[in-house]
Amino acid sequence: MNKILSLIASAAVINLAAGSLAMAQDGPITIGVQVPTTGSEATYGKDMLNAVTLSANEINADGGLLDGRQIQLVTGDTACDPQQSVNAASRLASRQVVGVVGGYCSGATQPTLKTYGDANIPFVIVAANSTQLIPANPGNAFMINSTGADQAKTAVDFFEGKGIEKVAIVNQGDAYSQDLANLTRDAWTEAGHTVSAFEYVNKGEQDFSALVNKIRSSGAEAVFWTAYYADGGLLIRQLRQRGFQGTIAVGDGSNSPELFNIAGQAAEGVFAFSNPTADFLPAAKQFIGDYQTEFGNAPGPYAPLAYDGMQLMAWAIDKAGSTDSDAIIEALASADDQEWLAGPISFTPQHTLARSNFVVLEGQDGKWIRYEE
């Protein structure tokens, strides 16, 4: 029964694809949106889909692309699962999409790179930012979110700007926070400074007094916590409670408002590195308002990047002057620091964002505000 159903379904898909081929010259331009709309990350996925939709609607209202052709979106649900994401990618590819925008979970995005690479479909990756995506990129994908290496660089610039020499780096032993800690340690020593302590804490441990002592006796002027907010809040609290007066900075896993609940007043004056969320982007005021009216809630953390991803794709199609894949990929590669919602975009030869888009936040009165040096 299922087989018959899927046969009918694929027949329908082929028909649709054939139909769109037939009117390829003047029909709508189909863009795939690859996000998790089910599963654990569905909240973020739907938020990104909303932002892409908003973006496409605006372009369509302005007269569309390539002399009046409208953008039509097709969603591929990855469920943040590598297997399901490959299915979603194949489905999008079989529908002859002109380009794909999306990609949230790095693990689920990585296998789709090959699918789109084989089909030679331009792919703008808006959120996924593992450094493992870089070598897996066959050349048709472009990452507009900064990677862990960029965050490490942002951290180094920030500490240098504060005139700090000795930094203690603490992570939680998981792949994400350890990666960021290693990248930061290497970048910091390469810049000629000292990592006075490089430690990790056991998850679920509440007492960090031994660690705090070690940090204090190492003479660290700053502490960089690369893991998540729950344990980060505990560490910040104990650092301050026990008289550590230096600078404290946390990575993007800890920039949640929850940090203030756990760390209390100790979180005041703590710095955090963050991807560009709408609240901290001066250019995003209009976007926040439009999003709110359209969808009834505030845009989530990756909405601005998703919006930019769609705009960038549209810009590249217009610049290419056709829906030809190679021309669009060439146009994307030539992105030249034009200013978008989340900042300027241009790419390195590896198709990663040339400039770090991380912003520095500071905790004040129980919330994060943008920190300007």
Binding site: G173, E199, Y200, V201, N202, G204, E205, Q206, D207, F208, S209, A210, L211, N213, K214, R216, S217, A230, G233, L234, R237, Q238, R240, Q241, R242, G243, E258, N261, I262, A263, G264, Q265, A266
Partner: protein, 304 residues
């Protein structure tokens, strides 16, 4: 910091940490003393105590504030509530099993632990709950040594509770009955001691002390979650073994020693703080191998 300042700072930290371990270890050792059960649900009573203290503080902070007075009252409420919970657990889960083989009751204890943990997981959704208080981060410097008021109050409270327990066990009729029951239950029954009531009192006190530690930990560290009792449960067990399981003074001593060992152990060169737990549980193995009775335990205590 010189090595001397560093030494003093670790001493203070060890005492704070040791106070938590000691309070929790007492419950382990008392229960083991009277019914020869390793109550593996004890760490979860500590966690339940933290949530009860959190609930208590939300109740009383309206008129008492969330400062020391409010926390103190919340702690008493939590001790009362969790003490009663301990008695209920004993009546429902352990009492019917007392005559069963020792392994059955041990498995029951693990089940109780899972029940408490998963109940808390369902109720909180696995999220960290912020334990908000009005306690500041004040303190004073003695040379390079930093002492916070919170630490001082915490250690003092733990000391008062332990002294009170020691007095209760050594000076009161119930305390004497408790000691008697731990030596020979059957003989006590023949002497007209209500063994069942003594066991209930033991569970009440042991669970109450865990709740006190839980509430203090919540207020001191600032957040609580359903899994917070697991590690400290194991460490308190280690402390009880170091001191000699079954011995009340031993549990206090074992807690403090373990706290100090952890605090100093992480400063041995080439052993980072990530090795802390390896260090702790290696001590457990060493004690069990070389001095299974612990520091103050009696050799005739039957072991599992």
């Amino acid at each position: 910091m010189t090595w001397y300042d560093s030494f003093l700072q670790q001493l203070v930290d060890g005492l704070v940490l040791g106070s938590f371990y000691a309070l929790v270890a007492l419950g382990y050792t008392m229960v083991f003393g009277v019914i020869k059960l390793l109550n593996f649900a004890h760490g979860d009573l500590y966690m339940t105590g933290a949530f009860a203290g959190f609930g208590g503080l939300s109740l009383v902070s309206g008129f008492l504030g969330a400062g020391w007075l409010g926390i103190f009252v919340a702690m008493l409420l939590a001790m009362l509530a969790v003490g009663c919970l301990g008695v209920v657990i004993e009546r429902v889960a352990y009492h019917p099993m007392l005559a069963a083989p020792r392994l059955s009751i041990l498995i029951t204890a693990l089940a109780v632990s899972l029940v408490l943990q998963n109940a808390a997981l369902s109720l909180t959704g696995g999220q960290y709950t912020a334990f908000r208080t009005d306690l500041g981060f004040g303190g004073f410097n003695l040379g390079n040594l930093f002492l916070s008021y919170n630490q001082i109050v915490l250690v003092a409270t733990a000391a008062v509770l332990m002294i009170a327990l020691e007095l209760f066990v050594s000076r009161t009729l119930y305390g004497r009955a408790m000691r008697a029951v731990s030596i020979d239950k059957d003989m006590c029954r023949m002497m007209g001691i209500n063994v069942s009531a003594v066991i209930a009192v033991t569970f009440f006190i042991g669970s109450g002390l865990a709740a006190a530690a839980g509430t203090m930990a919540g207020a001191y560290y600032g957040s609580i979650w359903y899994f917070m009792g697991f590690l400290i449960g194991l460490k308190a067990f280690t402390a009880a073994v170091i001191g000699g399981i079954g011995s009340i003074t031993g549990a206090m001593l074992g807690g403090l020693i373990l706290g100090l060992l952890e605090s100093f152990g992480t400063h041995i060169p080439f052993i980072g703080s990530e090795w802390k737990d390896v260090f702790t549980f290696s001590i457990l193995i060493l004690v069990l191998v070389f001095k299974p009775t612990g520091l103050l335990g009696k050799s005739e205590v039957e072991r599992m």
